[in-house]
Amino acid sequence: MHVDLDAFYSSIEQRDHPEWRGKPVIVGGDPDARGVVATASYEARRFGVHSAMPTRTAMRLCPQGILVHPRFSVYGEVSGRLRALFLELTPLIEPISLDEAFLDVSALLPSPLEAEPVARELKARIRQETELTASVGVAANKLVAKVASDREKPDGLTIVPPGGEAAFLGPLPVRRLFGIGPRSEERLRGAGIERVDQLAGAAPEWLVARFGQTGLEWQRMAQGIDDRPVTPDRELKQISRERTFPRDIGRREELQGIVEALAEELRPTLQNAPPARTLTLKLRYPDLSIATRRRTPGVVITEDTLKPGALQLFDEGWDGRPLRLMGLGISNFVLEPEGQLPLFDDGGVE
């Protein structure tokens, strides 16, 4: 099952600011400062605004748009609540981002065909608890479930019966498949393949000759074959916050202030994410060269050590030249370990 919240950031902003409901809301960085759009509400999307677009462009397309700075601590908190709801269904949750996750519900439901009441209930609970809508895709594997959740956005529910994967994917453009980006799409189009069923039906030898081994992988996807398991929190490699500056900044105090602000943005994540061992600071200079400093202090990063650790990395890593971008991330997560479960709630000890 793939659960994807609809226009997550902007929906939260509209929820918290009723006067913005029904209006184009753009959550993103400062337009005068090379900011980009994080999420646009559906109203804004009608103007052609989409995420990752420079905020400046977005505001030109949609001048009446309400530009909001992201409040990551709020989004992180909502994400934690969503996770709690998911946990009521299954412990096998693979979060993709704050607003998106795969759930392995195979222990609960023998077949996607029986998923409808469960999925409806989940959507209702999400609406009840967070006042947000989610789109859910249910299928026998992750690939198809993800495509399905996107099918009837917003507030959608799409269930793909087992065996019907290829038929479901067939008419879609190849771009919808996970891992096929604009470049691959272009190459496929060059070979006369635009829809998934064309890819699924192509002669394997031809695909190999044309695209190498990747061609066969694409074909497997196109046929709806995907045996990747839902791996709880495994995908979580790094959580980071970045800031691209309006103008290059060379003043130490100002940069330190930004490091502190980035640490502040990461803080709520620290509570929701699994414990992380490594803190990384990324510095980008105007010549686009990137310096990263990372530190693995031997214990997990805590709220107390986050800010001082980040400042120390800055002191060690910054060469004094003005900067264009800084990013702060946590990684090297301690995943839930294998281990003996205790009999008592207060934790057994031996």
Partner: protein, 379 residues
């Protein structure tokens, strides 16, 4: 003092009492045994102040008296003597004993009997009586489940609950729990519970006489010591202070899958899987498949370590309920299977992360709960 005793009996008595001798103690006399005449018999006592063991043997008493002697030296000496009468004598006012057999003779220096710590509570009214054989069985099935280290002191003890004519012993280390009910040969004087150190009970199990001699259990009036008494033996122990966890809450009353399987076969499969899981936290996995029409399902026991390899052992089983899988520390499984004393074991399971219950198939008095190992991603 002057007595004569049989070498075998004296040697045995010294060995029994020797279990309570302090190995290292700030009080040197606790490295000694008290040897004294009492009621026409020879009494031998030792204590490390946690536990005291006193035993009596038949002896010919010529002159009454008592002395304390270095436990280890006396025991080693008597052990090695031939099976002939041994005479032990202490001159009036002396702190040395002369110990002699037909061809060996020793002088062993000790300390006065009066300096030996007072071992309390021989006279208390018995609170309950249970027969030795049953008590030994119960100890065998329960005591090992207690905690070995004292991070949580109450768990190093065994909870003994007396109610009507029933005694229940319960032990847990926080990951597995064993509880066994037994019958008292006379109803207890009121309902009560005490926590007895597992160490004490291990010693008790070792030295209780075979057969069904009655064992009286008494608690001292200040409720900080327990006494186990037979005609020839007193074991006194301090009690563990504290509140025992509410263990009845922990024992699942419902389950989704019940498996009945041969105890020996499961033991063997567990043992084999444990070889493979030795380098993988001893994790073994049981996969339970219900049977079809015929009703014969299966349990597959597997162990694996990334570098070593893996094994699968398939057993026939009667399975009621749905298929399931669960992982355990192999030691917890082999521990319980080793004490069930039943041809078949019943396993009650409720999914991979819930407590599993092991029961002998033909007895309702023993319940053993094992918490599974969590394996991320369900492996």
């Amino acid at each position: 003092m002057k007595i004569t005793a049989r070498q075998e009996q004296l040697s045995q008595a010294l060995r029994v009492a020797g279990r309570a001798v302090a190995a290292r103690s700030p009080l040197p006399i606790t490295a000694n045994v008290l040897v004294a005449t009492e009621g026409g018999r020879l009494k031998i006592s030792a204590t490390n102040l946690e536990i005291a063991i006193t035993t009596w043997i038949d002896a010919t008493v010529a002159i009454e008296g008592g002395i304390t002697l270095p436990a280890r030296l006396l025991s080693e000496f008597v052990d090695t003597l031939p099976a002939e009468p041994v005479e032990l004598s202490v001159k009036e006012g002396s702190h040395s004993a002369n110990v002699r057999s037909s061809r060996f003779e020793a002088t062993i220096r000790g300390m006065g009997a009066d300096d030996f710590p007072v071992i309390p509570a021989a006279g208390e009214e018995a609170a309950a009586t249970v027969d030795a054989k049953q008590l030994k069985d119960m100890l065998d099935q329960v005591v090992f489940a207690a905690a070995m280290d004292d991070t949580r002191p109450v768990l190093t003890g065994v909870l003994a609950t007396f109610s009507g004519n029933q005694i229940t012993l319960t032990a847990t280390n926080g990951f597995r729990l064993a509880t066994r009910a037994g019958e008292l040969s006379s109803a207890s004087a009121g309902d009560f519970s005490i926590i007895i150190p597992a160490k004490t009970l291990n010693e008790l199990a070792r030295i209780l006489p075979d057969g069904d001699a009655p064992v009286q259990i008494a608690v001292t009036p200040n409720r900080n010591q327990v006494v186990f008494r037979t005609d020839e033996l007193h074991v006194v122990s301090r009690l563990v202070e504290g509140t025992y966890p509410n263990y009845r809450q922990i024992i699942p009353t419902k389950f989704s899958t019940r498996v009945v399987v041969s105890t020996d076969e499961l033991m063997k499969a567990t043992k084999i899987a444990s070889f493979f899981s030795r380098d993988n936290s001893n994790i073994i996995t049981l996969e339970v498949q219900p049977g079809g029409e015929a009703g014969v399902g299966s349990v597959v026991v597997s162990g694996a370590a990334a570098e070593l390899g893996e094994d699968r052992g398939e057993l026939d089983a009667v399975v009621n309920g749905g298929e399931t899988r669960i992982s355990f520390n192999s030691r917890y499984v082999s521990d319980v299977l080793g004490v069930l004393h039943a041809d078949q074991v019943g396993l009650e399971l409720t999914g991979p992360n819930s407590a599993a219950v092991f029961k002998p198939i033909d007895a309702a008095d023993y319940t053993h709960v094992v918490m599974p190992m969590h394996v991320p991603g369900g492996r």
